[in-house]
């Protein structure tokens, strides 16, 4: 099985940086430290995982994990039809992780989205600004400690009265 081989190859190469390999609902999940994410994904890319399907993040505040945040990469190989999930753990006190924008252009907007919604910065990203929320927004809404109803951002606009009085 090529996937298992790739796993062991990476484990040999970065022995301290690989936490674990688990399986959930038939999917292989590869847990690593955030510092090596670029190198690891580069290896995956060389081994045939040519398509970065999705990047997202999870706030492990109550779920538990190796660190507070996990950035999740879903990789796909167009040739061998395999999928693999890579989870890179990011510490709470310094939420930053190397950007993979150089490997796949699709990472550009998705990393900006994670920055906007989770507050994780991506080192080496060309344009790390908010993408979904307005520029003057404060906070990172998908963090578990951010209230769903927000901090009154949605009530903060001038009220327009009709210019002409109508009864």
């Amino acid at each position: 099985m090529p996937l298992a081989k790739t796993f062991s190859f990476i484990k040999d190469k970065f022995p301290e940086s690989v936490y674990d390999v688990t399986e959930s609902s038939g999917e292989q999940i590869f847990h690593i430290r955030s510092e090596v994410v670029r190198d690891v994904l580069e290896i995956f890319k060389e081994k045939g995982f040519n398509f970065l399907a999705d990047i997202t993040a999870i706030d492990n505040l109550t779920l538990g994990g190796f660190e507070r945040y996990a950035v999740v990469y879903h990789l796909l190989s167009h040739d061998s039809l395999e999928r693999v999930t890579v989870k890179a753990y990011v510490a709470e006190d310094k939420p930053s992780i190397p950007s993979v924008e150089k490997l796949w252009k699709t990472a550009d907007w998705q990393e900006r989205e994670i920055y906007d919604l989770f507050g994780i910065t991506f080192d080496g990203h060309p344009n790390m600004v908010r993408i979904m929320n307005p520029d003057d927004f404060t906070g990172h809404p998908l963090r578990k400690d951010y209230p769903r109803l927000g901090n009154k951002e949605r009530d903060d606009y001038p009220v327009i009265k009709p210019a002409f009085k109508r009864k």
């Binding site: 959930s24 609902s25 038939g26 999917e27 999940i29 040519n50 398509f51 970065l52 399907a53 999705d54 997202t56 999870i58 706030d59 109550t62 779920l63 999740v72 879903h74 796909l76 167009h78 039809l81 999928r83 999930t85 796949w104 252009k105 699709t106 550009d108 907007w109 998705q110 989205e113 919604l117 908010r130 993408i131 979904m132 929320n133 307005p134 809404p141 998908l142 951010y146 769903r148």
Partner: protein, 399 residues
């Protein structure tokens, strides 16, 4: 001759396109730097429809969130329903019945037809060909009627449940579908007659917004966008879900990767979808559309709830906090082939009745991210053509 040899000197101009421009289909904003009429640089701004879907999902249980998925991609809501039901079923390891799968396939393909026909119509409108839009919308209305028969509403269908469907198809549904399919064939032919050999149409779409194969992969494109660039990738064939392996259809591929090819891929996909619909109707198995309600996963049929006390009690139990649907701790990602491309849902569960994290992999976001690269060097008037061919759906783009 002299005039063309020495082009007019122009200064760079910055143009703000949108967010409320008719050709941006809602809420896109692009800041373009122009040199004369040529776009030198384009910076898309998104987020004007950001509605916090993913935050909301953390507070709703699995069946409740299905109603929210409708509002994400409002051109083909049923595909979203199916995708979300699939991921929840994968997480909880539920097998649905064969009939459920076939109905899901039938309705997904109908929505694919409705989605593509509207997209072609909108693209044509943006380029000044109103007739195709009106023809297409007439067909869409017919398909709306089919949805209404099956689900009760036109647009926000919420038809699937985790473990089945809200209800079975009504009687005589196959006949109605067949009637609409005959109509579809006519309308697609009409539209093709109007457009394919039309000189203006060809001038405005050929060689515009060309995407190479490598770019398509690097930017994460999927669906018709990728297939128009020659990538043989269709999740319905490569990673079949919901019994797609039972159906016989072709994957549509074009090689040039321009706007015209994307249009061709979409029209041909409509024909393939019609084929799938016909097969689904022919082979439709009988049986239930909901798995055994005793398992505590899905809501009981509405008849039982209204007409028997056991059903009512059971319904209460399933929907009460900390009762009913309790998935295992874990996570699941399911990719599906929505009309726009790979629509994936990623669920993380901590074992309570609401998901810990719901993530949508929105095909529109990836498809649209290549826009600034495509428009560079083209004329300003090509922007609507390129946006139209990408089929950006703001609800899905911004979530």
């Amino acid at each position: 001759m002299k005039i063309t040899e020495k082009p007019l000197e122009t200064e760079r101009m910055v143009l703000n396109f949108g967010p409320h421009h008719p050709s941006t289909h809602g809420t896109l904003r692009i800041i373009m730097e122009l040199d004369g009429e040529t776009v030198v640089k384009a910076t898309p701004e998104i987020g004007y429809l950001h509605s916090g879907f993913e935050k909301l999902g953390e507070d709703l249980d699995f069946n409740q969130y299905i109603t929210i998925t409708d509002r994400m991609n409002y051109l083909s809501p049923l595909c979203n329903n199916v995708a979300y039901a699939l991921v929840a079923e994968k997480l909880m390891d539920i097998e649905v019945t064969k009939r459920t799968r076939y109905i899901r396939v039938l309705l997904s393909e109908l929505s694919r037809i409705a989605d593509h026909i509207l997209n072609i119509g909108m693209l044509a409108v943006d380029l000044g060909a109103l007739t195709s839009f009106l023809y297409g919308f007439r067909l869409r209305e017919d398909i709306y009627d089919l949805f209404e028969m099956a689900t009760g509403t036109r647009l926000t269908t919420s038809y699937t449940l985790v473990g089945g469907l809200m209800r079975d198809l009504p009687e005589g549904y196959g006949k109605e579908v067949n009637r609409v399919l005959v109509e579809t064939d006519k309308i697609v032919n009409d539209i093709e007659t109007l457009l394919n050999k039309n000189r203006i149409w060809q001038d405005r779409t050929k060689e515009i917004g060309v995407i190479s194969k490598e770019d398509a992969i690097s930017y994460g494109l999927s669906g018709p966008m990728a297939r128009a660039s020659g990538i043989d990738w269709d999740l319905r064939v490569k990673e079949p879900y919901s019994s797609y392996e039972d159906f016989d259809f072709d994957v549509v591929i074009a090689l040039n990767g321009d706007v015209f090819d994307r249009y061709l891929v979409r029209t041909e996909e409509i024909r393939q979808s019609m084929k799938i619909c016909r097969q689904a109707l022919e082979k439709m198995p009988s049986g239930d559309v909901i798995i055994d309600p005793g398992l505590g996963y899905s809501l009981p049929p509405k008849d039982e709830v209204y007409n028997s006390i056991e059903g009512l009690i059971y319904h209460f139990e399933v929907t009460m906090p900390n009762r009913g649907m309790m998935p295992p701790v874990g996570e699941a990602y399911v990719p599906t082939e929505s009309p726009n491309g790979e629509l994936g849902f990623y669920l993380v569960s901590d074992g309570t009745r609401t998901p810990y994290r719901v993530r949508t992999r929105p095909p529109s976001l990836m498809n649209y991210s290549i826009f600034s690269k495509l428009i560079e060097g083209h004329m300003l008037s090509d922007a609507p053509a390129i946006i139209g061919s990408i089929n950006v759906i703001a609800g899905e783009l911004d979530r």
